[in-house]
C-alpha cells in the first residue's frame, strides 16, 4: 500500500512537471482551431494584443473579416506598451509558444529591437505579399519596420508633432502666436507670458528634446548606426534647450498636466495625444490652436516638423492562423474606412492614400475650427527620418539621464560637454562608434 502511494505521488509529480514543459507541442490549441494538417475543425480564433485607442479600428477590421468568413472570431486583449514589451520578451526568451497572440500592436520605437534580437519570432510580411503596398507608405516609415530587406510589421499610425498654443493666454500677454516661428521668438516672448502670470511650457522631457533634434534632421544615431551626438546640429539643438531652460521657456516649476488647466501656454503634442486630450481636457476647449513647431533656425535644413511614436502590427511566428491575421492586419492598415475610424480616434494613418479622406478637412471646434488633421498631415510630409536600432531604448535613457535631467537641474556644463559625456557613455554601453566632427 505504501509503495502504491509513493508510486502514485511520484507519477503525479512527474506528469505535472511534464505538463508544465510540454504545452507548446500540441498540434491543436485554442490559438489555432486547426489540426496538424491545417484542416478547419472548429471556429477560428485570432488573438490581438493592442492598447485601447486602437480598439475601434480593430473592431471594424474583425467585423469586416467576419462578414466574409463567419467562423472567425477575433478576441482583443487590451494592454499598455510596456506590458506588451515585457510579456512578449518573456515569452520569446523562455521559449513558450502557447497563449501568445496572433497579431500584436507595438510602439514603432521598439520594433527594431525586437526584430534584431528575436529575429525568428515574427512573420515576414514581404513573403506574404505585403510588398505590393510599399509605395503606399513613406520610405522612412517602411524602413523603420524592415529587417534585412523585408517588412515585418503592418505600418499603422504615425505621430506628427505640432505646437498647441493657448491663444487666450497669448492674447492676454500681447503675443501674436503667428510670430512664434523660431525658438528664439519663444524665448523673446517668455517675459511677456510670465509677466501675465502664466508658464510658457512645462519642463522639457524626452518628447520635446527629441522633437528639437528631429526638426534639425538629427538624432541619437545616424543611418549607419553610429552615435551621432557630437553632430554640430545636435550641439545646436541641445544648446537651444539650455537657453530655453535658462529663459524659463522650459519651466521646471510647471507640469504637463497644467496645460489642461489652462495655466501653461504651449505644449508640443503628437497626433494621438491630441485625439485623447480632446475628450478629457475640457477646460481649454476652444482656447487652443495648433501651429507648426518653432524652428531652431529659419534656414534650410531646419524644419518645423517631428514625429514621436506611432505604432505597427506584428504577426507572431507561433500563430496558427497567420493567413487570417494577415488579412485582418491588411484591413487595419490599408482599408480606407479603417483609416477614417483611426483618424476619428486621433490616430494619423501612415497609409498615404488616406490623405484623400474627407475627414482630413473636418473643422474641429476644440481647436477653434482649425482643420487639425490636414495640418498634422501637412506637417508629417516634411518630417525628416530618425534612425532607430536595437540600442535606441538605451540611447533614450542615456540622453534623459545625462543631458535632459542635468539641464533641467540647472547644470553649468555646456552642450558640448554634456553631449561628449553622453556619447562616451553610450559607446561604452553599446560598443558603437561615435562620429567625430
Amino acid at each position: 500500500m505504501k509503495k502504491l502511494i509513493v508510486c502514485l505521488l511520484s507519477l503525479i509529480l512527474i506528469l505535472s512537471l511534464i505538463g508544465c514543459g510540454s504545452g507548446n507541442n500540441d498540434a491543436t490549441d485554442d490559438n489555432g482551431g486547426k489540426d496538424a494538417q491545417g484542416t478547419d475543425t472548429k471556429a477560428e480564433k485570432v488573438l490581438v494584443w493592442a492598447w485601447d485607442q486602437n480598439l475601434p479600428v480593430i473592431d471594424y477590421a474583425k467585423t469586416k473579416y467576419k462578414e466574409l468568413y463567419p467562423n472567425v472570431n477575433a478576441e482583443v486583449v487590451v494592454q499598455s506598451v510596456p506590458d506588451t514589451v515585457d510579456k512578449l520578451s518573456v515569452f520569446f526568451s523562455s521559449g513558450v509558444g502557447t497563449d501568445l497572440p496572433d497579431l500584436v500592436l507595438m510602439d514603432n520605437n521598439r520594433i527594431q529591437a525586437f526584430l534584431q534580437q528575436f529575429p525568428d519570432k515574427f512573420v515576414n510580411l514581404s513573403e506574404l505579399g505585403f510588398d505590393e503596398y510599399e509605395t503606399s507608405f513613406s520610405k522612412a516609415h517602411w524602413e523603420l519596420l524592415s529587417y534585412e530587406g523585408s517588412i515585418y510589421a503592418f505600418p499603422f499610425d504615425i505621430a506628427p508633432l505640432m505646437m498647441q498654443m493657448n491663444t487666450e493666454i497669448l492674447e492676454a500677454a500681447g503675443v501674436d502666436p503667428q510670430s512664434l516661428k523660431t525658438w528664439e521668438d519663444v524665448i523673446a516672448a517668455t517675459q511677456a507670458i510670465n509677466g501675465a502670470g502664466y508658464a510658457v511650457q512645462a519642463q522639457f522631457e524626452n518628447r520635446e528634446v527629441f522633437a528639437l533634434l528631429q526638426s534639425a534632421g538629427v538624432g541619437i544615431y545616424d543611418k549607419a548606426g553610429n552615435i551621432d551626438l557630437l553632430n554640430p546640429k545636435v550641439v545646436e539643438a541641445i544648446d537651444m534647450f539650455i537657453r530655453l531652460q535658462k529663459a524659463k521657456a522650459s519651466d521646471k516649476t510647471a507640469s504637463a498636466s497644467e496645460v489642461g488647466e489652462g495655466t501653461v501656454t504651449m505644449a508640443i503634442k503628437p497626433a494621438w495625444a491630441i485625439g485623447e486630450d480632446m475628450a478629457v481636457l475640457k477646460k481649454i476647449e476652444g482656447k487652443v490652436k495648433l501651429y507648426p513647431l518653432p524652428k531652431i533656425k529659419d534656414e534650410k535644413g531646419y524644419t518645423s516638423s517631428a514625429n514621436h511614436g506611432g505604432s505597427s502590427f506584428f504577426i507572431l511566428e507561433t500563430s496558427k492562423v497567420k493567413d487570417i491575421a494577415y488579412e485582418i492586419g491588411k484591413i487595419i492598415t490599408t482599408d480606407m474606412e479603417a483609416q477614417d475610424i483611426a483618424l476619428a480616434e486621433g490616430l494619423m494613418p501612415g497609409y498615404l492614400p488616406a490623405s484623400a479622406l474627407d475627414s482630413f478637412n473636418n473643422e474641429v471646434p476644440y481647436y477653434q475650427g482649425q482643420k487639425i488633421w490636414a495640418l498634422l498631415n501637412e506637417s508629417a510630409i516634411d518630417t525628416l527620418p530618425v534612425y532607430i536600432n536595437e540600442h535606441y531604448a538605451i540611447g533614450e535613457d542615456i540622453v534623459a539621464n545625462t543631458i535632459i535631467h542635468p539641464i533641467a537641474s540647472g547644470t553649468d556644463k555646456t552642450a558640448e560637454v554634456l553631449l561628449k559625456e553622453a556619447a562616451d557613455l553610450l559607446a561604452s554601453q553599446t560598443g558603437r562608434t561615435v562620429n567625430e566632427y
Binding site: K2, K3, V6, L9, S10, L13, L17, V85, D86, S89, V90, F92, S93, A113, Q116, Q117, F118, P119, D120, K121, Q203, K252, T253, A254, S255, S257, E258, E390, H391, A393, I394, D397, A400, N401, T402, H405, P406, A408, S409, L425, S428, Q429
Partner: protein, 291 residues
C-alpha cells in the same frame, strides 16, 4: 536490489518526504541558477545564437559607469535609511512593549499596515504627494513657501526613496524587535528599576545588548532588501534624475528587458548575489566574534 532501494524504511522515508521539494527546487530553483551562471559567460542577446566570451560580461560590469553609479546609489540610500529605520523600529517596539502603553494592538497593526501595502499603490501615493505639482508642493504654494523639486534633484530623490523604505519597513522590523523583546526576562528590568535605572538606561543597557542578534538579522535583511530595491525607483523616478536613483536591480531589468542582453544581465545578477552573500558572511562573523 532495486526493490529494497524503493522500500520505505525508517532510513529511506526522509528521502521520500524530501523528494517533492527537492525535485521542485531542482527544476524551478537550481536549473535557473545554473542557466543564469552559464549565460553570464555568453553574449546572449534575445534568441540570437550566443557564443562563450569568458569573463567578458564581468569585466564589462566593473568598467560600466552606470553599474558603478547604481552601486554607489544603493550604498547612499542604505546609509540614508537603514540606521534611521532600525532605530525607529527599536523605539516603536520598545514603546509598544511597555505595559503602560495604551492601545498597543491597534498601534501594532497601524505600524505594520504599510508593509502589506502593494508597492505600486504606495509608490503612486508618494508620487501624488511629491511630484512637481504634487499635494505637498501645492500646500507649500498655498502657505507662500517656495516649492521643492523633490523628484527632480538626484539627492532629494534619494531621500524620497529612503523615506518610502522607512515608511514601509519600519513596522515590519518593529514586529521582529517586539517579538525578541518579549523574550527578554522581565526580572532584568525589575532589578534595574530597583537599582534606579531610568527607561532610557534600561533601553540602552538591557534591551539593545540583548537584541544584538536580532539587530544583526534585521540589518542583513535590510542590506539584502536594499540591494534588491526595484519597484520604488522604477515607478517613482525610473532611476533618474541623472541616474540619481538608478539601482542595480533596475539596471539588470533594463539590460535584460529593454536591451534583451541576457548575458550581461546574468553577470550583473551574479555580482549582486555575491555582494549580498559576502556582506552577510562578514556580518555573521563580526557577530560571532563579539559573542
Amino acid at each position: 536490489m532495486k526493490k529494497s532501494c524503493l522500500k520505505i524504511t525508517s532510513e529511506t522515508a526522509p528521502y521520500y518526504f524530501m523528494a517533492p521539494g527537492a525535485i521542485l527546487f531542482a527544476v524551478f530553483g537550481a536549473y535557473p541558477i545554473i542557466q543564469t551562471f552559464i549565460y553570464s559567460f555568453q553574449n546572449k542577446m534575445g534568441t540570437r545564437d550566443s557564443t562563450f566570451i569568458g569573463l567578458g560580461n564581468y569585466i564589462r560590469a566593473f568598467e560600466d559607469s552606470i553599474f558603478l553609479t547604481s552601486l554607489k546609489n544603493i550604498l547612499v540610500i542604505f546609509i540614508m535609511h537603514a540606521p534611521v529605520m532600525i532605530f525607529l523600529s527599536l523605539i516603536l517596539a520598545y514603546i509598544l512593549n511597555l505595559s503602560t502603553t495604551k492601545f498597543r494592538k491597534g498601534f501594532r497593526t497601524a505600524f505594520f499596515l504599510p508593509n502589506v501595502t502593494n508597492a505600486v499603490a504606495y509608490t503612486f501615493m508618494f508620487k501624488l504627494l511629491l511630484s512637481n505639482d504634487g499635494i505637498l508642493n501645492q500646500v507649500l504654494d498655498m502657505i507662500g513657501l517656495q516649492q521643492i523639486q523633490w523628484l527632480s534633484d538626484p539627492f532629494m530623490a534619494k531621500w524620497v526613496v529612503s523615506i518610502m523604505i522607512i515608511w514601509r519597513w519600519a513596522g515590519y522590523n518593529m514586529v521582529i524587535f517586539l517579538a525578541a523583546m518579549q523574550n527578554i526576562n522581565v526580572h532584568l528590568y525589575e532589578a534595574a528599576a530597583i537599582d534606579g535605572a531610568s527607561n532610557t538606561q534600561k533601553f540602552f543597557k538591557i534591551t539593545i545588548p540583548l537584541l544584538k542578534n536580532t539587530i544583526f538579522f534585521t540589518t542583513i535583511m535590510t542590506i539584502s532588501g536594499t540591494l534588491n530595491l526595484f519597484a520604488e525607483t522604477q515607478l517613482l523616478t525610473n532611476g533618474g534624475p541623472n541616474y540619481g536613483t538608478y539601482v542595480p536591480a533596475l539596471l539588470i531589468y533594463n539590460v535584460a528587458w529593454k536591451q534583451f542582453n541576457f548575458g550581461y544581465a546574468s553577470a550583473l545578477s551574479y555580482i549582486i548575489a555575491i555582494i549580498t552573500i559576502l556582506i552577510a558572511v562578514i556580518q555573521f562573523n563580526i557577530g560571532r566574534e563579539k559573542d
